[in-house]
């Protein structure tokens, strides 16, 4: 059960969080000592510029007037969906860069998350149900796997499967990029094949470090559900083990997994960024890496904004979905 009051309150929290993130995004670059507009001119034109150019760049970066005026201008741009120009990819705007890169990141994240949840639920359910050896094994393995840093694992995979191992002189997987230059992007088989082939290592890296969390959570909730009274009733009624597992245990144990997806999403984003860096995968994380190395501040800000927005919205959605999935939950 969800009441309207609950939805409104979650919505207000979400707006406050967004407001904080956006304000932070505005203030940070302006706290840096020095004039970023001047910095661009000096680095790009080695000091050969006139004051008019400086004024132009300042106004383009929304750096003119008092802090308050800049803040109003910032919101104005934002509400018009304008994230400004990119220094490095100029004349491409931040909007264009994000629009072309975001789908790749969402593809990696979405696929990795889906596979992780499925594997996690299956393994967790099994070891929670059986306990004993499989249970201890799960704990030991998940401790090891979750301790693996995403980017190190990505580098190891890259080294082993894309560089060291060759079969008939060919590498098993590509070292970098999202598809090979020989195919034309579009809905054709060679392109799709190439995309899948290129995304295998990045996705496996993310799955290996993400699924143990889901497996452990699933295992723990299965163990809790097994103690519930309604399970005793189900057994007393003479329901088959299969029905009990499917309908009573797994369904109920899935609930906490659902909510944890949102939180896992917030942490897997960081992992995806680093993995993209390793595989030069043309997603938003690789763009952020490029932006950081060339000090492309508008691009850094824009990417932070989009990612924060996505994660905050995902959290809001999960809050609502959870209440919908579990009728026992009354949220006022």
């Amino acid at each position: 059960m969800v009441t309207l009051g609950y939805v409104i309150r979650r919505f207000i929290y979400m707006l406050i969080t967004l407001f904080v993130a956006i304000t932070l995004n505005f203030l940070l670059p302006r706290m840096v000592p020095g004039n970023p507009a001047l910095l661009i001119l000096i680095t790009k034109y080695a000091g050969n510029f006139n004051p008019n150019q400086l004024k132009l760049i300042e106004s383009e970066l929304n750096l003119r007037g008092t802090l308050w005026q800049q803040y109003i201008g910032y919101w104005n741009d934002l509400l018009h969906g304008n994230l400004g120009p990119s220094y490095y990819f100029y004349p491409e705007t931040v909007n264009q860069i994000i629009a072309s890169r975001l789908p790749w990141t969402l593809f990696l994240l979405g696929t990795a998350m889906l596979i992780s949840v499925i594997i996690g639920v299956i393994i967790g359910s099994y070891s929670g149900w059986k306990r004993g050896l499989s249970d201890n094994l799960l704990q030991a393995v998940s401790i090891g796997l979750t301790s693996l840093p995403y980017f190190w694992l990505a580098l190891i995979f890259q080294l082993v499967f894309a560089v060291m191992i060759t079969i008939n002189g060919r590498h098993l997987f590509p070292v970098a990029q999202a598809y090979s230059i020989t195919v034309t992007p579009g809905l054709n088989l060679p392109f799709i094949e190439s995309v899948l082939w290129h995304s295998t290592l990045p996705i496996i890296t993310l799955v290996i470090t993400t699924f143990p969390g889901f497996a452990l959570l699933m295992r723990n909730t299965v163990v809790t559900v097994l103690d519930e009274d309604y399970l005793l009733l189900a057994k007393a009624k003479g329901l088959s083990i299969k029905t009990i597992r499917k309908r009573y245990v797994n369904k109920n144990a899935m609930l906490p997994v659902t909510t944890s997806i949102a939180l896992a999403f917030a942490s897997i984003v960081g992992g995806a960024f680093l993995v993209e860096e390793v595989f030069s995968y043309p997603g938003i994380g690789y763009a952020l890496y490029t932006a950081v190395t060339v000090s492309d501040y508008p691009l850094i800000e824009g990417i932070f904004l989009i990612i924060t927005l996505t994660v905050i919205l995902a959290n809001f959605a999960v809050d609502l979905i959870y209440a919908y999935l579990d009728p026992r939950v009354v949220l006022k």
Binding site: T17, S147, P149, Q158, A266, V269, G270, V278, I312
Partner: protein, 298 residues
């Protein structure tokens, strides 16, 4: 209750706390997982100490040929400049641990303070503090770290401060819920009746009972700090001339260690991070099992 009785009560309580803590330490040393965790963490500290006093080479000396696989002279080979990888690893272990534990201690301090205050005083204080925590928990950590580090001066100190400021929210939630239950105990009531102030109760009755939880969270915060710092360095942020696990991986990636098949350069820093994580998890599981023996499982 007279002053003298209150005094006796206090002594009784504190002595029981000390003996409980001793008992807890004893149990830790007899617990297999706890022992394994302690041994792993201790070995890493040992590596750091060896690195500090007895690294075979100056990590910046470039007298050897670059990209050399392990040899007698260079047990872990050399990097793209001919620097000794073993020396980088030994010294880097120290830096990484220092960064991790600095972050852990600062953020645990903030987290415990916020959590205890919110849990003990409740009401509006609790409400405001937990809303702040909610906001910080929802904003994705790594992108926020990246944007903060990109705009602040690239030093190790910046990285420590930024990570400390962002790492405490989760701990504060744990501490808050523990405080809520501790607050209901008899001995807190006794202290209240004997006229101790809120802060006195927090420091005498509440926090000492949270020590196992704080201890294990400091370890986990340190692991998270090491991993986050390594991730940031790998992303090209922070002080890239600093010798640590993160910068080792950054230079490996930036200078095409992959192309040269330089596994000897890639494996040590990652194994360091993995060992730290496994050690912390062993210790964490052990503390959890020892403090909540009634829970099912093993």
């Amino acid at each position: 209750m007279s002053d003298r009785e209150a005094e006796v009560l206090k002594i009784l309580k504190s002595s029981s706390q000390i003996s409980r803590f001793k008992e807890f330490l004893k149990k830790m040393l007899h617990h297999r997982k706890a022992l394994a965790g302690l041994i792993i963490l201790f070995s890493l500290v040992l590596i750091a100490v060896v690195g500090y006093f007895a690294a075979p080479y100056n990590p910046f000396s470039t007298n050897a040929p670059p990209f050399q696989p392990p040899t007698r002279q260079h047990l872990l080979g050399t990097d793209y400049l001919g620097e000794d990888v073993l020396s980088w690893f030994l010294i880097g272990t120290g830096t990484s641990l220092f960064v991790g534990f600095s972050i852990a201690i600062i953020s645990a301090f903030i987290g415990v303070l916020v959590g205890v205050t919110a849990g003990y005083f409740g009401g509006q204080v609790d409400n405001v503090l937990m809303r702040i925590v909610d906001v910080l928990l929802v904003i994705p950590g790594f992108p926020l770290l990246v944007i903060l580090s990109a705009f602040l001066p690239p030093t190790l100190e910046t990285t420590i401060i930024v990570l400390s400021i962002l790492s405490w929210p989760f701990l504060s939630r744990v501490i808050r819920s523990q405080t809520l239950s501790l607050k209901q105990r008899q001995y807190v009531l006794a202290s209240k009746l004997s006229g101790l102030s809120g802060f006195q109760i927090i420091f005498r009755d509440i926090i000492p009972n949270l020590i196992p939880i704080i201890f294990i969270n400091v370890i986990f915060l340190a692991v998270a700090g090491v991993v986050a710092q390594a991730g940031l360095a790998f992303f090209g942020l922070g002080d890239l001339r600093s010798v640590n696990w993160g910068t080792m991986l950054y230079w490996f990636e930036a200078e095409d260690g992959i192309v040269y098949n330089a596994w000897w350069w890639l494996i040590p820093p990652g194994l360091g991070i993995v060992a730290l994580g496994i050690g912390a998890n062993f210790l964490g599981n052990a503390v959890y099992e020892l403090t909540q023996p009634s829970r099912g499982g093993q």
